[in-house]
Amino acid sequence: MGSITPDFRFGNLVGSIIQLVLVILAIVTVLILPMIFFALFFVPLPVVNGQVLTPYLFFSMVVDPSRTLPIVKFLMHTALFKAAIFPGFLFASLIAAATIFIERKLLAKMQLRVGPLYAGKVEGIFQLLADGLKLISKEIIVPSGADKPIFWLAPVMFVSTSAAVVSLIPVAYGWVVADLDVGLIAAFALLGFFPLIALLYSWASNSKYPFLGGLRALHQMIAFEIPFFLSALPVVILSGSLNLTEIARSQNIFWNIFVMPINAFVFYISSLAELERIPFDLPEAESEIVAGWLTETSGMIFGLIQLGSYLKLYALSALFVILFLGGWYGPQIFPHELIPGASSSNISLLKIIALDGLYNAVTVNSIFWFTIKTFGIILLMLITRGVNPRIRIDILLHTGWYKLIVLTFINLFVVLTLIYGGILGPGGIILPK
């Protein structure tokens, strides 16, 4: 029996909003402000320009126009900002959200339909938000006999490992969360965790279909790890270092893809297999094993795994860009100063609007080109999803263990020939600056 919805009254809406605001203010005053004071009592405050940054100094600096920008610049270079906002978690999450939106609309356009349309005024922009709210509000069903600690921890481990891979990616020179000297090997080592997590989670689900899916995930991801780092080997030989920033900087004359196109192709196929995307989405093959190792995920666990999966997509596309597509190099299209002549003038408001010490044309240019190239590779991965069916496990393993490794060796010999011929690499004719 359907019920008739009550009429909407604007007064009721305003009343409930005011009530919500008052409740929030009450909670903040009674609980949160004392906690802040308590924490400030124990936390040592940072030192800026020779003075301890107390809240009073902070507010006065913010209000004084000539001192705002150095504060912002200082905050932007702290480790917390880099890890959480840019180029870390928030930046990657925004790219992941944009990827999800573009994926749905691109696939819909290819399939001659509309995709999400009604959430948000313009062609369903807020669909992801609606989906996220829905997932948060769902009940998480734990199967009987499931291994509860691993069942709850595995999605969290998935997201954190993906975030760890994201933290190794340099977006511009100097903008990387973790600048390791062995960055490339660290990326591969982190990628080696994913089959383990998939297997643990599928075993903990205590059900047959996840079990089959977990075994398939294990076979698939392990089979494609070897072509993955074999295809990155000539890059390391050419640039002479494992540091991702150095690899990107060594491509300022020509991009690596012109020397090793086969390796780029192999890297692309291997990253599709690592990401479990169509045509390699056997572990989640819907028509054979319901949803593979993700069968028992529900609610926010599913949301976390999707988030981790798209973060990994961003990380591997960015890795492709850094290794083969020249990182962040591109023609300089951003002007040197936002408002010409602002840095030498005396009007402080003009300096703030022109983002005086903050705006670095080279960095902004790098970020722009990096994002464009990453989205280009993501677009390629999405279009591949639209035109291909799923592959079978024995064909997949045959491809991974035989064909791709042979292809990488071909390109390795080509690059070694070029290096010994004295054309490329350290001591060659074409030198990076």
Partner: protein, 165 residues
């Protein structure tokens, strides 16, 4: 290189479709147009007249209460029942007319085929949903109301593909 050309052709076919118009009908902002007034039946010639089989329309000045529509529906869906009404018509001595339960009707139109007096037709109106089951039972006076339906979107096939309106 049969494999490579197969992949490239598939990619090309897929990307070609990114530039074709989308085919979806955006209901309820767009509604389909129908030719004609709905399914009708001519008992003299014994054939029907093509049209959409939607809600029925009952002409009170023609219905004689012969129950043939209810008898036809008895074996199919049992959706038509005869009820007594307040009106007095010359041709309807018993003053009974059909009432149709749209919770049970399968819209097959065999009741329209059974009526020999041109009294029961079907119309273009298909938006019959309601919040309660009891409001799906349409009384004879509700069935006499002419529907107002104004859809105007058709499938158009042009050089860029087919789309709705």
């Amino acid at each position: 290189m049969n494999t490579a050309s197969g992949f490239i052709k598939a990619l090309e076919s897929g990307t070609k479709h990114l530039f074709i118009k989308r085919f979806t009908l955006r209901y309820p902002e767009q509604k389909l147009k129908f030719d004609g007034d709905g399914y009708q039946f001519d008992p003299k010639r014994g054939v029907g007249i093509a049209g959409l089989r939607g809600r029925h329309i009952l002409f009170h000045d023609k219905c004689t209460g012969c129950q043939l529509c209810a008898i036809a529906c008895e074996g199919i869906a049992e959706a038509i029942g005869m009820v007594k009404i307040d009106e007095h018509w010359k041709q309807n001595k018993k003053s009974i007319m059909p009432q149709i339960d749209y919770g049970k009707c399968v819209f097959c139109g065999l009741c329209v085929d059974a009526c020999p007096f041109y009294a029961l037709y079907m119309t273009n109106d298909y938006e019959l949903s309601s919040f309660t089951k009891s409001s799906l039972i349409y009384t004879p006076s509700q069935l006499a109301v002419k529907p107002r339906y104004d859809g105007d979107v058709e499938i158009k096939i042009d050089s860029k593909g087919a789309n709705h309106g």
